[in-house]
Amino acid sequence: MSVLVFIEQRDGRVRPVSREALGEATRLAAALGGPVVGVCAAASDPDVAALGEAGAERVLLAAHARFAHYDGEGYAAAVEAAVRLVQPRAVLFAGSAMGKDLAPRVAARLGVGLASDCTHVDTAGGDLTATRPIFAGKAVQKVRFPKSPALLLLRPKIFAAVSKGGTRATVEPLALELSGPARERVLRVAAAAGGKVDLTESEIIVSGGRGLKGPEHFAIIEELAKSLGATVGASRAVVDAGWRPHHDQVGQTGKTVSPKLYVAVGISGAIQHLAGMSSSRCIVAINKDPEAPIFKVADYGVVGDLFEIVPALTAEVEKLNAHA
């Protein structure tokens, strides 16, 4: 049984999260005994043949003038057409902004179930079971799919890409009849300042909380983040206080993240914050209160004045960078 992967591109470039999805598809297809097929909607070919290296054997390319930007209804029609053609056992989407908008539309068109934010997929006995955090990570749910194909959104930064050096995928055009212009028309895409990486796709996150005492002190967080090549996050308290924009918020009413390193600075560790970051691979906490709940989830803690510790940490990391 084949596994279909939605290949996400923006501005003619395939996004790295799609390689993660192809990696998981490669493992699932090996267990299910079938090929990995990609489907890509684009205005022109973003060199999908190169995805052979990431595990795709075939890629169906739906090229359409409407697809210069994301087009939810048009993209959903493309994925539905690919599903009807390929008859896969599972369809994987990266859990990106695009994937999260697209996958439910495809599920509704096909009348099948969708599991969001999956962190593990099991194929024991040929039956697909997805594991997904719920309540922002306070609990874990396992779900199965009474109908085929199973649709899954994969949490970014959890699944590893594969590398099949030099392999090329065969590319086939996917014919699509779309009537008229898109009803949801992207007028423009405004880039974030400094090309900031989204928190959900960051390898390293440095988050600040109330302990920073004021928005102006986030400068030391920005500097530490810069030295580590990290993205800046924030607790709900400081977002609600207006110190940081909402898209920086980590936790239950913000983003759920799984970076390899999460540094929590001046964050006490409210339950809804812990929920959003405790699936990080390694957690560092810097806080003046040794009893703060953040230390219960941290791998490494440093107790003391963050205004002394953070600049010292930045300097130490910069020393390391200079030697590298």
Binding site: H69, Y70, A76, S96, A97, M98, D101, P104, A107, A108, G111, V112, G113, L114, S116, D117, T129, P133, I134, F135, A136, K138, A139, Q141, K142, R144, P146, R183, E184, A190, A191, T200, E201, H246, H247, Q252, T253, L261, I271, Q272, S278, S279, R281, C282, I283, P290, F295, D299, Y300, G301, V302, G304, D305, E308, I309, A312, L313, E316, V317, L320
Partner: protein, 249 residues
Amino acid sequence: MIQVVCIKQVADTETRVKVAADGKSLDPAGVTWIVNPYDEFAVEQALRVKEKDGGELIAVSLGPAGVQTALRGVLALGADRAVHLRHDGPALDALALSRVLAEAIQPLGASLVWLGKQAVDDDAAQVGPMLATLLGLPCVSVAAAFDLADGTATVEREIEGGREVIAVALPAVITTDKGLNEPRYASLKGIMAAKKKPIEERPAAGGEATLEVVSMSLPPPRGAGRIVGEGPAAVPELVRLLREEARVI
């Protein structure tokens, strides 16, 4: 103009989650129920549109009897009437729920259907785009800015590394993100007025399930960490551990 806002009653975000005896769902004992935080932005934006353009705002929610408390709260904020789709069994999956909502909302002839981008219990973030697809309407999910002029909405949504600005002609389905607006509180006058506003209760059947919950469990606790030390003196050791033990930098 008719607008519909869909709300969900969820466990408060401060809830310590416990698993019920069935091993598949939240133990409701001691849980405080609130309106899903993301739905508050949907209600607020719908109220702002109503204040500017007039018309009727209808709140819709599916769930057990307790859901009427949440609906009454939305009526107190300024919605005109409510539809309670009474459902007492286990939670429906997102598509089954979307089907029930679509059937209830279709005859209302709404120009705008509002939902929060996701409910903070199952975190699925599916119902908005599913409902739009079933209603045959366009959809913009995760709205962070909204403007309406001449029957066309201009909506901004956050994407990785930026924002998409999308134009969509009404009727349309919009799901809302935190940051879209600052939700209001109910006034005493609003609370009094809400007592007289109608809530129509209808039974809701579940229909065909498309996703089956096998189990719910608590995540394994993280292994006990350690305090590396106190103050800046601990920094060199912290960096060494991150490099040599955790291998993350």
